[in-house]
Symmetry: C2
Amino acid sequence: MADKIFRVNMSDLTSSIEEVPADWQGLGGRGLTSTIVAKEVPPTCHPLGKHNKLVFAPGLLSGTPAASSGRLSAGCKSPLTGTIKESNAGGTAAQILARMGVKALIIEGQPNGDEFYGLRITKSAVTIEKESDLVGKGNFTVVEALMAKYGHGVGILTIGQAGERRMSAANISVRDPEGKLRSLGRGGLGALMGSKKIKYVAIDPEGDLPKIALADVDKFRAANKVFGKALVDHPVSGEALPTFGTAGLINVINGVGGLPTRNFRYGQFDAHDKISGETIKETIEARGGKSKHGCHPGCLIQCSQVYNDKDGNYLTSGFEYESIWAMGANCCIDDLDQLAQADHIMDDIGIDTIETAVTVAVAMEAGVIPFGDGEGMLSLLGEIRDGTPLGHIIGNGAAVTGRTFGITRVPVVKNQGIPAYDPRSIKGIGITYCTSTMGADHTSGYTIATNVLKVGGFVDPLKKEGQVELSRNLQIATAAIDSTGLCLFIAFPVLDIPEALTAVVDMINACFGIKLTADDVTALGKKILKTERAFNVAAGFTNQDDRLPEFFREETVPPHNAIWDFTDEEIDAFWDF
Amino acid sequence: MADKIFRVNMSDLTSSIEEVPADWQGLGGRGLTSTIVAKEVPPTCHPLGKHNKLVFAPGLLSGTPAASSGRLSAGCKSPLTGTIKESNAGGTAAQILARMGVKALIIEGQPNGDEFYGLRITKSAVTIEKESDLVGKGNFTVVEALMAKYGHGVGILTIGQAGERRMSAANISVRDPEGKLRSLGRGGLGALMGSKKIKYVAIDPEGDLPKIALADVDKFRAANKVFGKALVDHPVSGEALPTFGTAGLINVINGVGGLPTRNFRYGQFDAHDKISGETIKETIEARGGKSKHGCHPGCLIQCSQVYNDKDGNYLTSGFEYESIWAMGANCCIDDLDQLAQADHIMDDIGIDTIETAVTVAVAMEAGVIPFGDGEGMLSLLGEIRDGTPLGHIIGNGAAVTGRTFGITRVPVVKNQGIPAYDPRSIKGIGITYCTSTMGADHTSGYTIATNVLKVGGFVDPLKKEGQVELSRNLQIATAAIDSTGLCLFIAFPVLDIPEALTAVVDMINACFGIKLTADDVTALGKKILKTERAFNVAAGFTNQDDRLPEFFREETVPPHNAIWDFTDEEIDAFWDF
């Protein structure tokens, strides 16, 4: 049972291990990180200053045998958006932390001086040591060095050059089972870790860890079996995702005219077939990669993959739809190998692929490089790695880049780049972009499920009717799911198969010996959203921040000639719950 | 009588000359620009998009013989701050516009394409012509070319390379009587003019203009005489300013420990004597410059100067305290000739000296160049002129630069750089920085008058008592003064000599044949502030934006070890009127 709070103070380089306060005991993942941030971080503080905190928390089910439950949440006041932020990722860290008894790791304060530090977390202690060898190095080098030092069981959180430079698109990388990387991608958490002068956190299990004690093992097993069956039975989580990965969406979203192209000018990309999930699968198979791969142990969905270069050597993994869209259609680059190369570089320098590629499109808009220039994109990533002035601009995301070059066509909400679904032609996701407590974020209320994939019913993506309610219900459910450590993709079966939701609730109850109902889960989701919203309001955000940029309201997007036509009142009604 | 609204639509390159609506008739200068912006500009629009408008308006007394009444106001939604903005400057444009009958010039819309245009305004028409020769050129070249084309009587508004590139620290330059430049400096108005693709506005009087008809000439003359006497009698406007220019403040503010040094670390600069008004006066006199100079015809104060280089050639004019402070003490550069050279370059490329030099200090903080590096500063200005990535960063001001380099020590309020008075050791001005409707701006409520110069009484700068009320009263008075076309420095006699205020009111009444009282003037000031504040609230600003950066609250400033210690409630009480 994860029953300790590990707290690290980087101002005086001390640490403590604390009991979990009573009102945090039922929380995990996002529910816990957002609660801690709301309680301990002054909403108006500078995100890169000493008052911000970086909070890691495994989900409620992380470390248990529950299928696909290895997600790690990280929370803070976002250096990118200034809002509260939770980001979650796979990898091995959540499960190790949970089994070491770490309910949350809170990193606060800030050292003086320019030196970086490495943290080592064990069951009983935190060690803080100066680090110089790995400073300036990419994430892959860090992972190799730490695996050599602490063995192959070590969990790793690390930042690359982007995080060291406190660039607000920087992410935090999490070691995956093969020693590759997953990302706590959005919101600039890497910049925060860099501002605390932490190059890495090595989570050292020091050998085998005990299993998590379950209150009712039999009930847990039974529920997990039902849950696992639902995951493999559902056509999205059981078939589409394992077959084509998330990139299977390229052709699907292109088909409905919602694939933003050339910095959100068009809804379809002529060369979509060259970057599609189908083409990726063929390419992987021809080159001896893996078309199925789990981001953490116990994943039943296996939507990840290993993509090799022409010579059969590893090029990238976790080659996701959103990254491929952002670099591909939105920048008009159709060379899959260039995209994979860029994906690998971004993993290594530790920067969010969505934010960075949306930013590259904005730089293209500004004339820094032409649309379609794949080599130019790779060169911009080199500038980020090298910390040139242009690299600092791009590395700080789309809003800063648009501002710096005086561009108005900048697709952001609350300074975060809008991801891979045009909000004019898939209107539900536009409501999510506007109202998410974390800036434009598709994962916070993934209406694509219902607007496009017809999961959980169908709401016509081109009409306004029902979108606010859809986004609201999904954002509430997502806040709850993000608290469990379960992958968000479990939402597909949960939305369609009644037994799946029951099974999730049963697993939580069997784990902790409690008696939650589905209504309690909904109430938890609502409470998390309200907590996050209250933080943002105290930070100075208003309804005026819950808006799409001007051009979505004034330019139609082909092929449907759709426009963003929600009134302010309609958007603001999101919060009526 | 200025009785027409000139309106230019840059979307379709048309113009119209309109009657003045009834509710704008009693307004001028800032009162008029803010009223027009509040009525016609959507508060949430993108400042560089087609919905923003650029409004120029002479003051109520501009063009009359009233002493020191030649200020021109320009208003918009600021590209720098996102708030409403009014900036005013001397030069010849206000008086020419007023005598041509132009109550306001409203520029709206935005052309497609990359071509720039030049506007020519005459009494009866606006001509819009494509301009290519002057694009990419500095302001001095523009002024020379237009004086050659339209004669020496032409009024000129122009942008340099910074404005063309839509950099949000870009200013708009106004031709002065000698063909040199004054600046509509703060808030990034040059970026807005650049976004409308206007390189210059030539205001062509086509020969002699009629005098403005005064309703009661005798009464006007009598009041102007009293007013002029007060201006020359007062020790600040009549003696200190004409003798040493505004730079006379270097030693004064250094003396009270309020001269921000090394990016606001200290309140005194060791080398203050090397950049003081006294040293400037000696240097000017030794080199054959002018130590007295008016920025517009009819100025009785003559606080400007012409500063020559070692060889006696013109180097710069309008060499102001705030610019000298920002480049000097705050960047730790003590070579006066380097500062003058930088001042000249900034005039030529058309960028706000305060914002840019505050930004250079932030870049120094980030390690881009070392503190004290005058050549480095000149080199950064070259980057702005050339539009390099680093130039784009610096050219967008302190907030963008701080963000881009991940720096927390960034002295801004609402994204505008804090000017030349430390708010910890001169607390009244801190209240002005927080609550000004336009971001950190000393001119919007210049408490230095009372906190330091003991004009209008004395409020101890180191204590909190009385500062909110002082700033409020001065901001109200300033909003009214900024509507008259009178130089703000008339506030010194107005605050101390009862006849001076009466004379100003009498001049307005004698000009228009009306019967305002001093209370009406106060009511006007209040109404302007409330109008501006309402715009900002509708744009999404909250009380949380009325705050100084974190470090002012946490670091004391020597020599008084003063700290910023106002509570949120104390600051917010500013708006209780």
